[in-house]
Structures are given as structure tokens and as C-alpha cells.
């Protein structure tokens, strides 16, 4: 228990600090950003558009039940999308796609003794493997999440037009009325936090992998589970903290 906490803290500290220390391997950083972006872009876009449809349908159901009118649906739905769904769904998808990929990569490097080889060459494996992932994941999740939010809102706009019959300018003006700049700042902070957690947990379980094919499998599984739980828990904490600033 104490040893694993120590290892986790070591990964966080060395990973973050050695971003700012030479030698800088810019190519690795760019590769990780493009890995995060390109691997999950299509999946995130499709999932988020479907989530938008469902959000509008559900919001209109509840609003007609309580207030007997669905005039507020555009505002409420866009608020829910920006504050919650856009970021969480993006982060969970990135966690399972990219996080699992990284855990599998690091674990298979570990069991094929490539990490020991890195140590032999006097390259710090945490600096070499974790730092580019942290940078790539924080930036990649932020960009992808903001894009996902925008696409989710656009989809929601079309669905309100088709399903509830409100014209698109109404949706935009309602969104302007409800959503404030704070919401966007908090959404970005949330996305960056999620992006920071993914590579750390993935690499933590990757470094701990035991040998054999089962080792890679179980490292990947544990990484995916811990990332999802951490994202939901952090989402709760951040929502609670941010709710005091409105």
C-alpha cells in the first residue's frame, strides 16, 4: 500500500517536473498529442452527438412534466452539456481508448524488459515515457473536449429544431442567456484535470505489470477501471467545488 502510494507520487512528481528539464523531446510530445486527438476523435464525436439527442429528449420529458412547457429546454440542456456531459463523456472515452492503449504499451515494454534497457542507457523511464504523455493528454483532452462540447451543442440545436420545433436562433439566444464565461472556464479546468489523471494512472499500472500475457491484460484492465472511477469521483469533487463560485 505505502509502496504503491510512493510509486504513484514518484510518477506524478518526476513526470511533471521533468517536462521543464532538458533534454526536450519535442517529437514525442507531438506524437502523444496526435495520438490522443486522432485515436479518439471519431468515437468522441459520434458518442457526443448521440448523447446530445438523448439529453434533449430527456430534458423535454422532464420539463413538460414539471413546468408544463418545454420552452426552457434549450437553455437547460446546453447548461447540462457544458457543465457535465460533454466533459465527462469525452474524458471517459479518452480514458478507455487512450488510457488503455498507454497502459498496454507501457506494460508490454515492461514485460519485454525495454524499460530496464532504458535504465541501462541512463534514460529515466518516467521522464521518457510519462512526461510526453502528461503534456499530450492535458492538451489533447482539452482540445478534444472543447470540440466535443461545440459539436454536442450543434447537435442539440438541430435536435431541438427537429424534435421540439424551436428555431435555431432561439436555441442560440437561450444558450447565451444561460451559459456564462465561467462555465467554459470550469469545463476547461475539468477537462485538464481529467487529462492529467489518465496518463498517470495508465503508466502507474503499466510500470507494475507482471510478466506474461496475463500481466499486460490485467494491467490494462486495472488501468481502465481506475481511470473511470477516478474520473467520476473527480467530477463529483470538481462539481461540488465549482458550484460555490456561481
Amino acid at each position: 500500500m505505502l509502496a504503491s502510494v510512493n510509486q504513484l507520487l514518484q510518477i506524478v512528481a518526476i513526470g511533471v517536473l521533468s517536462i521543464f528539464r532538458p533534454p526536450y523531446r519535442w517529437k514525442n510530445y507531438l506524437r502523444e498529442i496526435s495520438f490522443v486527438g486522432s485515436e479518439s476523435f471519431l468515437v468522441v464525436i459520434i458518442c457526443v452527438s448521440f448523447a446530445a439527442i438523448v439529453t434533449i429528449i430527456e430534458a423535454s420529458y422532464h420539463m413538460t412534466l414539471v413546468v408544463q412547457s418545454d420552452a426552457m429546454v434549450p437553455g437547460f440542456a446546453s447548461l447540462l452539456i457544458i457543465r457535465e456531459l460533454g466533459s465527462v463523456i469525452t474524458a471517459l472515452l479518452i480514458g478507455s481508448r487512450v488510457g488503455a492503449g498507454w497502459a498496454a504499451e507501457v506494460a508490454s515494454m515492461k514485460i519485454s524488459e525495454q524499460i530496464d534497457a532504458l535504465k541501462l542507457l541512463r534514460i529515466d523511464p518516467i521522464k521518457y515515457l510519462v512526461s510526453p504523455k502528461i503534456v499530450g493528454s492535458v492538451l489533447g483532452t482539452l482540445l478534444l473536449g472543447l470540440a466535443a462540447n461545440i459539436i454536442c451543442l450543434i447537435c442539440a440545436m438541430f435536435v431541438t429544431k427537429l424534435k421540439l420545433g424551436y428555431p435555431m436562433p432561439t436555441f442560440i439566444s437561450m444558450t447565451k442567456l444561460f451559459v456564462e464565461v465561467q462555465d467554459l472556464v470550469f469545463a476547461s479546468l475539468k477537462l485538464m484535470t481529467f487529462g492529467f489523471v489518465v496518463p498517470i494512472i495508465a503508466c502507474f499500472y503499466g510500470f507494475r505489470a507482471k510478466s506474461g500475457a496475463e500481466g499486460v491484460g490485467s494491467a490494462t484492465t486495472q488501468a481502465v477501471v481506475s481511470i473511470s472511477v477516478a474520473i467520476i469521483f473527480l467530477d463529483f469533487v470538481l462539481s461540488y467545488v465549482f458550484s460555490h463560485f456561481y
Binding site: 471519431l42 468515437v43 459520434i46 458518442c47 448521440f50 448523447a51 439527442i53 438523448v54 429528449i57 430527456e58 420529458y61 422532464h62 412534466l65 414539471v66 413546468v67 437547460f76 447548461l79 447540462l80 457543465r83 457535465e84 465527462v88 463523456i89 471517459l92 472515452l93 478507455s96 481508448r97 488503455a100 492503449g101 497502459a103 498496454a104 504499451e105 506494460a107 508490454s108 514485460i111 519485454s112 506474461g212 500475457a213 496475463e214 500481466g215 499486460v216 491484460g217 490485467s218 490494462t220 484492465t221 481502465v224 477501471v225 481511470i227 473511470s228 472511477v229 467520476i232 469521483f233 467530477d235 463529483f236 462539481s239 461540488y240 458550484s243 456561481y246
Partner: protein
């Protein structure tokens, strides 16, 4: 184009796999004790995670609804709205995301490493049908266990909502519970249960499919796990939309 082609390939293989599983199930169903042991295994491994995440999902939904409802001064409706929203929609979705990581990834890693180390071929060599011996107990066991875990997680989401409404929104428990039956109708409950069944089926079939398909070395196991969790999340979101449409149609018809 490459992505589309591999997607269509996988889809075809998936349906062939389902056909094989169902025909084996009709011909010779697996013994009950194997199914029960799988159910027990899944429960043991994911009960804690499910209750934890369910609790926080309920808490998150209550915070979000409370912030929006406060604008209208309708805090009394908080209980009904957040319970209904969680049960109908967000609860099954997020808990199924989590289970797809926990159960799905675990099972596909297990099956993948069995396949890679040629244990499944060994079973075939001994004259037994690997689908009947290995896949079917897991398939049925995961469907049963995930369904009950999802329902259980939604129950915990309710507890999380109650606690959060007391701490955060100053709505006491009695007031919270009083408005649950007025807003959450039978169709909402049906929606939650129906979604749980569909998601459980999606998780079970996808994880066994990708685990059974794995071939190659240790890397293939990792790849199987990654594609399982992605495919699970993707299909859960799409099935979520689909079930919402079905429930909407049923709701209008009633």
C-alpha cells in the same frame, strides 16, 4: 476508409459469433453451476466499484439539478427530478461505462490470454466445444450479473442523491422522497430497467467476442482489452439513444 472497412469486418464477425453462441445455447445449454460461479465472480470483483460509482453519479446529478432548479425556486421538486433523471438516463449510462471497464475488460483479458496461450485450442483438441465450455457460462453469467449490478448501482445513486440534497441543496430527506413518486412514473422505472438489460447484453457479447477473437502475443491481449472497452462505450452510447427512442414510442402509445 480503413477504419470503416475494419468496422464493417468486425460487425460481420460479431454477428457470426452471436449466431454461433445462440445455436450452441439452443443445442446444449451449459451447466447451471458454471453460470453461477461466473455470476459470483463478477459480483465479487465489481460490487464495490459499482456502488461507489453509483453513489457519486447520483450525487453529481443532484448537484447539477439543484443549481438549475434554484433559479426557479422550485427546490421541492429536486428529489423527483434528480431521481428520475438518474434512473431514466444518466445512471444506467455512466454505471454501464464503468462496468464495461471492470467486467468487460477483465473478461476479454482473461479470454484473450487463454486464446493466446492456446488453451482454447487445447479444449477443442480434447473434443469439447470451447463456445459451450468457456464462452457460454461467461456470456450468460455476465448478462445476469451486470443487469443486477446496474440496478443495484442505480439504487445507490438514489442514496447519493438523498445525501447530497441534504448537504448541498438544503432539501431534507422527507421532502426529497415525497416528490419521487409524483415525477418518477412507471415508465421511468421501466426505462432504467430496460436500458440495464440492453447494456448488460452489449457488455457480455462484446467482451466475449473480442477476447475470443484475439490472436498473437502478449500485445494482442492488450489490443483486445482496448478494443473491448472502446466498442462497449461506443455501443452503449448508441444503444442509449436507441432505447430512449423505444421508450419514447411506448410512452406515447400508452
Amino acid at each position: 476508409m480503413q477504419i470503416l472497412r475494419s468496422f464493417v469486418d468486425d460487425l460481420g464477425l460479431y454477428f457470426l459469433f452471436l449466431k454461433e453462441v445462440f445455436s450452441t445455447f439452443c443445442k446444449s445449454p451449459p451447466e447451471k453451476k458454471y453460470i453461477y460461479s461466473q455470476v459470483l465472480k463478477v459480483f465479487q470483483s465489481s460490487l464495490l466499484t459499482t456502488s461507489f460509482s453509483g453513489f457519486f453519479v447520483g450525487a453529481i446529478m443532484t448537484i447539477q439539478f439543484a443549481m438549475q432548479i434554484k433559479m426557479f425556486g422550485a427546490s421541492g421538486y429536486l428529489g423527483g427530478l434528480s431521481t428520475s433523471g438518474t434512473v431514466r438516463e444518466v445512471g444506467p449510462l455512466l454505471i454501464a461505462f464503468l462496468l464495461s471497464g471492470k467486467v468487460g475488460a477483465y473478461t476479454s483479458a482473461e479470454l484473450g490470454s487463454m486464446k493466446v496461450s492456446e488453451q482454447i485450442d487445447a479444449i477443442r483438441c480434447l473434443g469439447a466445444n470451447p463456445i459451450q465450455e468457456i464462452i457460454l457460462p461467461r456470456f450468460i453469467g455476465i448478462i445476469l450479473a451486470s443487469f443486477f449490478l446496474l440496478v443495484y448501482g442505480i439504487l445507490f445513486a438514489f442514496y447519493g442523491g438523498v445525501l447530497m440534497s441534504y448537504i448541498f441543496a438544503d432539501v431534507n430527506t422527507l421532502e426529497y422522497v415525497r416528490h419521487v413518486p409524483t415525477i418518477m412514473t412507471g415508465i421511468s422505472l421501466f426505462s432504467g430497467v430496460f436500458k440495464s438489460i440492453v447494456f448488460a447484453f452489449a457488455i457480455a457479447s462484446l467482451c466475449t467476442f473480442y477476447g475470443y477473437k484475439a490472436s498473437g502475443g502478449a500485445k494482442a491481449v492488450g489490443k483486445a482489452v482496448v478494443s473491448t472497452s472502446v466498442a462497449c462505450m461506443f455501443s452503449i452510447v448508441i444503444l442509449d439513444w436507441f432505447t430512449t427512442l423505444i421508450v419514447d414510442v411506448i410512452n406515447r402509445w400508452l
